[in-house]
């Protein structure tokens, strides 16, 4: 196979949105038959670029060539015709249909007005055999796990004849074993002549799996490197454009008072296996306890249990000396607990509501926002303006609906809301996920200031720099239990990575 010919070549791509230049001067050379990673921070412009390549929108400038041929994609179907397939981060499958039906949906082989299922089945069996990607074609999609659904998505694009596959953050939803499986599938696909464009911000994965790496920063391509010619920290630096902001110094000592004490918490899981197993820790006044871990290892259940949305089957939770194991979420929030949730859109914000209603959410029990049974809108708006100003939320006013803000500003608003209720315990789940560097630094700064003022913080993050940089102590969660206790001084990303994937090692042995 011609490894040196270019499967995809993008030259001088520029894409503007009203008021924002999302991509400019982007150059990308993807060799045929390779896995090409595109790395960059959230918001760096990776997704915009991939949407351009997949024909979901048209660039203002620049050219696209596929296998040496100049192309203009007016829609995804043009891209599909050119052999490009996209595996979206959010699967687009019809739950009630079988795998086979989902795969052929929209591209059904038809003869005489009838769908040729047998023909499609034969073709798919062929594809599965060649790519090593196996799924039960007759299973309803609703029965499949996340990893299998992803395989269905991959088969879907292969079925449509794609020779260039774009995978948008494919590992974000996978557990470690599934990641390994995905990578071995990708290698087989490449060996079979396919070309893969792999979008990620997880550097370790990128270094493991790819042949070439293109780094995108601030909307443009800044470097193309080979995995063996670059270190993890060098790559991170390329992504961020400077040294990672991670000051360690702190102005105050960790207090002695225990703010939150979690003892022996066990939470039922979906199957027989518990989602949380005997989790115990304490957080003191003015302390940040970091929890590192691959997403989906019980962090979400831990947060839900602490704020009272999930009932533990064993164990107790004591906050400020009160046993709150059986208290309602409302009671907990009113007694000084705050929560920055995992997913700001799903759990944090009312997207269609104006910002001032968003800053009021969860704080409507505060008498300052009430006039008898009614909401004191003037006070709530004034408070919202204050949050907007203090947390540097970029918005014309507090009357704008939340959906109009960028992710970083939404997150700043959310952090501002949670800190404005003057909590003494804060659960911060991925507080800087998907925000730009400026917002990230601002959020870290606010968290530190609150900690220095005595706030006890439970920090959940997949960003190891963040965990190491902010925490006073670090726990590693794996498979529903805590399998390591570390101090920031002894914690290195490598060491944490080892503990975070501890389960994989156990299974392997």
């Amino acid at each position: 196979m011609a490894t040196d010919s270019l499967a995809v070549q993008l030259t001088g791509i520029e894409k503007r949105f009203p008021g924002v230049i999302a991509n400019h001067d982007v150059n990308l050379n993807v060799r045929a038959g390779t896995i090409h990673a595109i790395v960059g921070e959230n918001g760096a412009g990776k997704s915009t670029l991939m949407k351009t390549l997949y024909g979901m929108h048209q660039p203002e400038a620049g050219t696209i060539s596929v296998f040496g041929e100049h192309k203009v994609f007016r829609s995804p179907s043009d891209a599909i015709d050119a052999g490009i397939g996209m595996v979206h981060q959010h699967f687009m499958l019809a739950d009630n249909f079988t795998v086979l039906e989902n795969i052929i949906l929209g591209y059904e082989p038809i003869k005489g007005g009838r769908v040729q299922y047998d023909q499609a089945r034969l073709k798919l069996q062929d594809i599965m055999a060649q790519s090593g990607t196996h799924v039960d074609l007759d299973a309803p999609v609703s029965d499949l796990g996340v990893g299998q659904r992803q395989r269905v998505e991959i088969l879907k694009v292969l079925f449509r004849g794609a020779r260039i596959l774009i995978l948008d953050e494919p590992t974000a939803v996978l557990v470690p074993q599934e990641v390994d499986e995905l990578f071995s599938n990708l290698h087989r696909l490449v060996a079979d002549g396919a070309t893969i464009i792999f979008i990620s911000h997880k550097l370790d994965e990128v270094l493991t799996v790819s042949d070439d790496i293109t780094v995108i920063r601030d909307g443009t391509t800044v470097a193309e490197v080979k995995p063996d010619g670059v270190t993890r920290s060098k790559l991170a630096e390329l992504m961020v454009g400077s040294e990672l902001p991670s000051p360690h110094g702190r102005a105050s000592e960790v207090g002695s008072a225990v703010r939150l004490s979690v003892t022996g918490i066990t939470v039922a899981g979906l199957g027989e296996k518990h989602a949380l197993e005997d989790v115990t820790f304490e957080i003191h006044e003015g302390e940040v306890l970091g929890i590192a871990g691959v997403e989906g290892n019980g962090q979400f259940e831990l947060c839900e249990t602490i704020i009272g949305l999930t009932k533990p089957i064993e164990g107790s939770i004591v906050m400020n000396g009160d046993n709150i194991t059986h208290a309602s979420p409302h009671h907990r929030l009113m007694s000084g607990l705050s929560y920055i949730p995992f997913d700001r859109h799903r759990e944090g914000l009312l997207l269609d509501a104006p910002l001032w209603e968003n800053t009021l959410l969860g704080r409507d029990g505060d008498p300052q926002f009430l006039k008898g049974p009614f909401i004191n809108a003037a006070a709530a708006k004034a408070d919202s303006r204050e949050v907007i100003e203090r947390f540097d939320v970029r918005t014309p006013s507090e009357l704008v609906p939340a959906y109009a803000l960028s992710g970083g500003n939404q997150q700043k608003l959310l952090v501002g809301r949670e800190l404005s209720s003057h909590p003494n315990v804060l659960i911060a789940a991925h507080p800087t996920r998907g925000v730009d560097i400026g917002a990230q630094a601002a959020i870290w700064e606010k968290l530190r200031a609150a900690r220095d003022a005595g706030l006890a913080v439970l920090l959940i993050s997949a960003d190891l720099e963040e965990v190491i940089g902010l925490s006073d102590r670090i726990l590693v969660m794996f498979d529903g239990h805590i399998n390591a206790h570390l101090t920031p001084a002894e914690a290195t990303p490598e060491l944490l990575g080892t503990y975070m994937t501890g389960g994989v090692q156990e299974v392997a042995s």
Binding site: E347, L350, A353, G362, G365, P396, S397
Partner: protein, 388 residues
């Protein structure tokens, strides 16, 4: 740091004092931030206009003159008597629409208003006939019974949803059918009251202390005042109160509300019960002002028309009143149109087309507005990702 960023000349935040007054007035109308207010109003009006044009084309296609039909409609409808009739017909629809809107605000579709108001009418008729109280107390008690019956009946799907995860749409539709059976059974077995020689069998007629006086004799019941109070209460509770805020938050994003300590289960039950209680009042014009008893010749369809009115009024108090009056107007001119040899089904067609165009227009306008708002907000941030 929020306001000063707005350097763009077209920034909406450059609002003067007069603009402020207007926006206040408008937000009074919609209860939302100013962007959507005028747009909502305009798009609803546009939808009605489009519907009239489409219905006109239909009329024209069947060989009738649409101009003729619409001018007949206005001629017939804009008389004193007909306007009173419009209001009288709008009254129950407005109340039913409020009931529906409470559910909508919680993201619940209470299709069961139809059954809930019948329950309200029936039990209010039964209880009201057998008690004797001074007028105000008597009527008040009848209202309470009607509300309680509607509320209890609405609690059933709410509890099914909370406990068993049964979709409220399916539960309420089924309960509507069951309602009829229960009422028919109770009526037949217990509460029918025959008057010799009269085929129109009803429950026992209410004592006159329970009769609601007319504002205009035989044309407009004073229940319209109660209906307006209901609308006002709806506005205060849903749009202005803490409870309403929690209800709307839960309806807008149940997960986020739950994370903020608002139990969506209790919101589901509370809002359904409130919805049912209001639904129970929808039939009070019929019971207390026109019929004074329940009978099988009862009016039907308040529930379904209430859904339509709530949708058209975008669940907003003022919108509901306007939409209710529009529906009442269309109903009241159906008769005169028939006499003018225009099929009265055109009224039904207009209603249905209005509903569909409202949905389509709102969807289209909604998307545009969302995009424009996002773009404008982004534009004011003066930070193109790449400045240099």
């Amino acid at each position: 740091m929020s306001e000063p960023i707005a350097t763009e000349p077209n920034a909406p935040s450059a609002e003067g004092t007069s603009a402020n007054a207007v926006s206040k007035l408008v937000s009074l109308f919609t209860g939302r931030s100013q962007q959507s207010a005028l747009v909502t109003l305009a798009s609803s009006l546009a939808a009605v206009a489009i519907a009239l044009v489409l219905a006109g084309i239909l009329l024209w296609a069947t060989g009738k003159s649409p101009f003729d039909a619409y001018s007949k409609m206005l001629d017939a409808g804009l008389t004193n008597d007909k306007l009173l009739e419009t209001t009288q017909r709008a009254t129950p629809l407005i109340v039913a629409a409020v009931a529906v809107a409470i559910g909508f605000k919680m993201n619940l579709f209470n299709i069961g208003v139809e059954g809930q108001y019948l329950m309200g009418v029936f039990w209010a008729a039964v209880v009201g006939a057998y008690i004797h109280l001074p007028s105000v107390l008597h009527i008040g008690l009848i209202f309470l019974v009607a509300m309680a019956a509607g509320a209890l009946w609405a609690a059933v799907p709410a509890i099914l949803k909370v406990k068993k995860g049964v979709n409220e749409v399916i539960a309420t539709i089924m309960l509507n059918t069951i309602t009829l059976s229960i009422i028919d059974w109770a009526f037949q077995e217990q509460f029918r009251y025959e008057i010799p020689g009269q085929l129109d069998v009803k429950t026992k007629v209410l004592p006159t202390t329970a009769w609601l006086p007319d504002l205009v004799k035989n044309r407009l019941s004073s229940f319209i005042i109660v209906a307006l109070v209901v609308v006002l209460a709806f506005w205060l509770i849903v749009y202005k109160s803490k409870f309403g805020f929690r209800l709307r938050a839960s309806g807008a994003n149940a997960v986020a509300a739950r994370t903020a300590g608002i139990s969506s289960n209790s919101m589901i039950v509370t809002s359904m019960v409130m919805s049912g209680a209001i639904a129970g009042l929808a039939g009070m014009t019929y019971l207390l002002s026109t019929s004074h008893a329940y009978g099988p010749t009862r009016p039907e369809g308040y529930g379904f028309n209430g859904i339509a009115v709530a949708l058209l009024g975008r669940n907003h108090p003022a919108g509901i009143i306007v939409a209710g009056l529009l529906w009442g107007f269309l109903d009241s001119v159906a008769g005169p149109l028939q006499i003018a040899d225009i099929p009265q089904s055109i009224v039904l067609v207009i209603k249905a087309i209005i509903l569909l165009t409202v949905v389509i227009v709102n969807e289209v306008v909604g998307r545009r507005v969302a995009k424009r708002t996002a773009d404008r907000t982004a534009a004011q941030l003066t930070l193109p990702v790449v400045a240099a």
